[in-house]
Structure formats: C-alpha cells, structure tokens
C-alpha cells in the first residue's frame, strides 16, 4: 500500500494549473525549459497549488481560530457598551453643544442620535482595538507560523515566497474586513435600537441629514476605516516577516502608534505630522460635519495607501530573506 500506487493520490496537476497550459513551448513534443528531465522520470514543469485553494485554506485553517473570534467579540462589545451607556442615560443629557471635538464629547453627541454611533465606535476602536486585532492576525500569519514550525511546511510544499505573503496579506485583510464590519454593524444596530434618533443624523455642525444619506456616510466611514486598518495590518505583516517572535508584532505596532501619538502633539515636530499614519485618524469625525471637509480624509487615505504599499513590500522582502 504505497502512495504512488494509490490512484487517488496520483499527482495530477489541478485544472487550470497544468504546466503545459502555462509554460510549455509551442510544439507539444518539445521539452520546454521547465519540463526538465531529472532522472528516469520528468519533473512536470512548475506546478503550483491553485491560488483559490490556498486562499480558502488560509481562511478556513489560518484564521478561523479562537483568537479571531475573541477579537471580534471584544470589538462588538465596544459599540454595544456605548449604545447601552448612552441609551441608559436617556435623551435628557443633550450635551451636543458642548461637544465639538472627539473623546467623551463625541460619545455625548450620540445621545438621541443613534446614527452617529457606528462612526463614533469606529473612531474609538481605531485608536487601539482595531490595530490590535489586525496585528494579532498578522503576527500569527508569518512570525507565529515560523514559531510553530509550520511555515517550513508551507515553504516546502512549496508555496512560492511572494505568493505566500500575498496569501497571508489576504488573510490579514479578511480579518480587517471582519473587524470593521462587526464594529459598524453592531454600532448601527445598537444605535438604532438602544439610542434611537428617528432615522435622522444630527451632524456636529448642527444640521440634520436624512437616513439614506446618513447610511452613505456610515459606509464611507467604514471604507475609510478599513483602509486605515489594512495599512496597520500591512505594517504588522512587515514586522511579522522580520521576526520569529509573534508577540513582538502587536507590541511593535501599538508601541509605534503610541509613539506617533506623542510625536503628534510635540509642536516642534509638526513637520512630521503629515507622514504619521495616526495623525489622520481624527479626520473620521469630519464625516459627522456638514458639509464634509474632505482635505483630512483625502490626506489620510493617501497616507494609508502609502503605508499599505511600503508594508507589503517590506513583508515580501523579509520573507524572501527569511531562513526557515
């Protein structure tokens, strides 16, 4: 009973990945470069597992662990607690006038204004919990796998190293999508049920916006937050590619976020502000004004895209250099 004799395990390249379909020379009888003859039998070109199969395996086995579920549960608690807290205080605390900025004032502004809750919840979680969740996923993706020794198996299968980073980045992005979706959806539900507000969004500028338009603003806020979280995820993946200690990844990411928060408020270092990712995170509250000032949102979006590209590039470089 041997593997090669078992017809079920006989190596037939998966559909769409046939070497002859991809890299073979024009004449069928001719050996292309990649259909090299090793000894006695041919190496069948450069086979690779289908990408969709790898992505599905990453979602099913890499992410569907207890870690992701706990992260999502904690994230769901934030809008829920805000909703319950604000709802319990009742409509009496109409502190809108005293709340132009972020922080507790923003929470107070939710009172009787349920559609503001999802955006406020994104704002609150963006400063700690969303980056934490995504960097834990990124830590597991490369550094954790290296620590478990399972990265070796993936490289030996083989999954090409660039491909491996793309698969892992896809997994981290999927976690970012789930996180932002949970905060937004629970925020929306909690806002509409615990807080209420009559289907209107009362902006910080004092105007009121209809339900449809408010939903559009919530969607923009979610998309913007997703990009910011994805940028953090890319940076975390870069750190993850450079270390074998998974704990280092959330520590480095949160450390960097805190340091950049400090740098942000030192006046003589004002020139640094345009390149600090966290400096743009306050601009999500712009979506609660009327009309929406777009300058901060645009800048932070471009900044996040830059971090995303640089993070992925470093992650690829680190993985190519890694000795597993």
């Amino acid at each position: 009973m041997t593997g090669p004799a078992d017809p079920a395990t006989r190596g037939e390249p998966a559909p769409g990945d046939s070497p002859s379909a991809g890299t073979a020379g024009p004449a069928p009888g001719r050996h292309s470069d990649c259909r090299a003859v090793a000894f006695a039998a041919k190496l069948t070109g450069r086979p690779a597992a289908p990408l969709v199969r790898l992505l599905r395996a990453e979602l099913r086995f890499g992410l569907a662990g207890p870690r992701t579920l706990i992260t999502l549960a904690v994230l769901a608690l934030v809008p829920l607690l805000i909703g319950i807290g604000v709802g319990a205080r009742g409509p009496a605390g109409d502190a809108l006038a005293a709340a132009p900025g972020p922080g507790p004032g923003l929470i107070a502004a939710i009172t009787g204004n349920g559609l503001m809750l999802p955006i406020s919840a994104l704002r609150v979680t963006l400063f700690l919990l969303l980056p934490l969740g995504v960097s834990i996923a990124a830590a597991e993706a490369l550094a954790g796998e290296a620590a478990h020794g399972s990265l070796r198996g993936q490289l030996l299968a083989p999954i090409g190293r660039v491909r491996l980073v793309l698969v892992k980045a896809f997994g981290v992005f999927a976690v970012a999508v789930l996180e932002v979706a949970v905060v937004t959806a629970v925020g929306l539900l909690a806002g509409l049920t615990c807080v209420g507000g009559g289907g209107q969004l009362l902006t910080l500028s004092g105007t009121s916006v209809g339900f449809g338009h408010a939903m559009w603003r919530v969607a923009v806020a979610a998309g913007w937050a997703l990009l910011q979280v994805a940028a953090v995820g890319a940076v975390a993946l870069a750190v993850s590619a450079l270390t074998e200690h998974p704990l280092l990844v959330p520590a480095a990411v949160l450390g960097a976020a805190i340091v950049s928060g400090v740098l942000n408020v030192i006046p003589s270092l004002g020139w640094l502000r345009p390149v600090l990712l966290t400096s743009g995170w306050g601009s999500i509250t712009d979506l609660l004004r009327d009309p929406v000032p777009t300058e901060g949102l645009t800048h932070s979006t471009l900044l996040a895209l830059g971090y995303l590209v640089v993070g992925l590039a470093v992650a690829v470089a680190g993985t190519l250099r890694r000795e597993a």
Partner: protein, 339 residues
C-alpha cells in the same frame, strides 16, 4: 536581495540530456543510472561567526537510502535545510533532482517530501485539519483528491480516527507529532524524501513502522535521505552512508563497502588456531589471528575455498562469518579522528 533566493518566477533549466530509462519500479533501485538525486559541491554555511558546514561534497545516488550520520551539532540539519532551499548557502552549490537550489525550488520541491527538525503544525487545529492544510498547498494534489490523500496518509502512519487524528495538535505526544510530520511527507508521490531523525520520540513499534515506510518508499523508486544519530537505524535501513563531523563529510559510500573498509575477510572460530593458520599458509591464503579468532583474507580467495581448506586439514571449525566493522566502531573511529 539575491535573485537566487527567489522561489517564484524562475525557470528551471534542463541539466542533463533526457535519458530514456524506464520509470523505477519495485526492487533495489539504487543501481539506476542517471544524475544523483542530490549533489552538493563545496557547500559552506556560516552563521555570524560559527562555521556550521565547510566545503561539503556529497552525492545522494538516485534510488538510494542514504543515512546522514553525525554527532549532535555536526551540521546534519543545516545540511538538509540548505538542500531544501530553506536556508541560503554561504558558498558552494546545491542541486536537487538535477536542478540548482534554491533557484529551482518551485520545480523541484513538489516532488520532494521533507520532515526537517521537529514537525511544525498549528496547535489549535486537529491533526486531520493540519494535514488538509498542508495538502491544500501541495502542487501535485488535485483538489478532488485531497480528502482521500489525507485519509490514506493518516492511515499509513497509524494515526487513524481512533488514535487521535481529530484531536487538537497541541494535545499530541511527541510520537504522534512525529507521525503527523511523516503523514505530510506521504501526501503526494515523491521522488525524494528527506527525513531528519524520523524516529525521534517514537516507541519501538513506531520505529519499526518508520523502517517499513522507508522500505516502501525505497521499493516505489524514491530516493530517501535520512539523518540520524542512531547507528542501528542507519545500519538496518540504509544502502548508503555519509558521516558528517564538525561540518565536514569524513566518509561516504555504500554501507556494505564502508563496513568492509579493511577488505573482505572471514572470521573463523576454532579451538586450534595454530593448526588453522598452518593450513591456510600451506594453501597460500593470507591469514592471521585477531582477538582469539583466525582471520582469513578474502581479497583473492572465495570463502568456500577457505572453509574447505580448513576442513580438509582437519581443523575443527566451530563458526565462520564475514568480518564486518560494526557501524558504531566505524563511526567512533571516523568522528573521533576528525575531532
């Protein structure tokens, strides 16, 4: 960033003219012609200031079962990691299945099954799920064939449902982890199997099963390269041996030849050694006594002639056997001389 590091986007070149040998079938396949399954020349690996390997040359003949022997810290695992493209050499060249590594990893590794260092799996997944995850990454496995391949591999290493295939990996004993690592090697048909101390942590029954697996792979035509510090394991399973000490290969060759390095000889146990020596001398067969045994040199004489000479001379022969240097003796001799 050296381009040699890239495992994607490279094109494998054809190194040898195609030889029209039939596909290896059952039987001792290591006499097959063709390039070696692995060829290492001048390999060197330096970690910061530690020289792990230095100017290593090694051929693993196609179809052989080669045992890589060496004391702890002699560079066995480093060597295997360099062979498989997991680490970059500081100097020298590595060819696997006739292709340069690590450049051709994408072409070569689908045909290679390897268990290097301790088995590595995700602790929160069951053994079966871990194996399914590995199978998803195997290029030579069709998607539809995955469940069957996983079941077959689990069964072959003795990790059936009842023995814990569905338990989380973190609850596994050392032996079960090792078995799961072997199962991952068996997921796809292989031309070369690399095993780093495969019987680590296994009970005697498990050790026997590993030997059986190696014999099965060998019979199916695969080349097996295994590292071990267990001499008995190598002596029983391997056709070839390479001995590694402090980063260099000090001996390599067929096991039988290495064990008869002093030349073929027959050891004869007799109560009259002097009469035996006289009879051998009369028949012009070189002989001498060693630790109370008469040793007859077989370089030019068949063993049958030695025995008939002795019996006709009236020498009582209690026992006669081929002299073999014990592998342990050879190992100690080689590794201590090298140190």
């Amino acid at each position: 960033m050296s381009p040699a590091r890239r495992s994607g986007g490279t094109i494998c070149t054809r190194p040898e003219p195609p030889d029209n040998q039939p596909t290896p079938t059952a039987g001792p396949g290591w006499r097959l012609p063709g390039p070696p399954a692995a060829r290492v020349r001048g390999l060197r690996k330096v970690y910061r200031r530690t020289v792990a390997l230095d100017s290593v040359d090694l051929d693993v003949p196609a179809g052989a079962v080669l045992g890589l022997l060496g004391p702890n810290g002699s560079g066995k695992t480093t060597m295997l990691r360099l062979l498989l493209g997991l680490a970059r050499p500081s100097g020298g060249t590595v060819e696997l299945l006739g292709q340069p590594m690590p450049r051709s990893a994408g072409c070569v590794l689908p045909h290679v099954g390897a268990l290097v260092e301790e088995p590595g799996f995700l602790p929160h997944l069951s053994g079966r799920d871990n194996l399914a995850r590995c199978a998803a990454a195997e290029p030579l496995l069709a998607t539809a064939a995955i469940p069957n391949a996983v079941d077959t591999a689990l069964r072959r290493v003795g990790l059936a449902r009842a023995t814990g295939a569905d338990r989380p990996y973190r609850t596994y004993s050392l032996g079960m982890k090792q078995r799961l690592g072997l199962a991952a090697v068996l997921l796809a048909p292989r031309k070369l199997v690399v095993l780093d101390e495969p019987t680590n942590g296994l009970d005697p029954a498990g050790t026997r099963e590993v030997r059986r697996l190696i014999a099965e792979l060998h019979a199916a035509g695969a080349t097996v390269l295994l590292s071990s510090h267990l001499l008995s394991e190598v002596e029983e399973t391997c056709t070839h041996v390479a001995v590694l000490t402090t980063g260099s290969v000090v001996a390599t060759g067929e096991l039988a030849e290495l064990l008869e390095a002093d030349g073929p000889a027959l050891q004869i146990h007799t109560s009259q050694p002097n009469a035996a020596l006289a009879a051998l001398r009369a028949a012009r067969i070189p002989g001498y006594t060693e630790r109370g045994l008469v040793v007859a040199d077989l370089s030019d004489t068949p063993p049958e002639l030695v025995l008939s000479t002795l019996v006709h001379a009236g020498v009582p022969v209690a026992e006669a056997r081929r002299r073999r240097t014990g592998l342990e003796e050879l190992f100690v001799q080689l590794t201590e001389d090298g140190a």
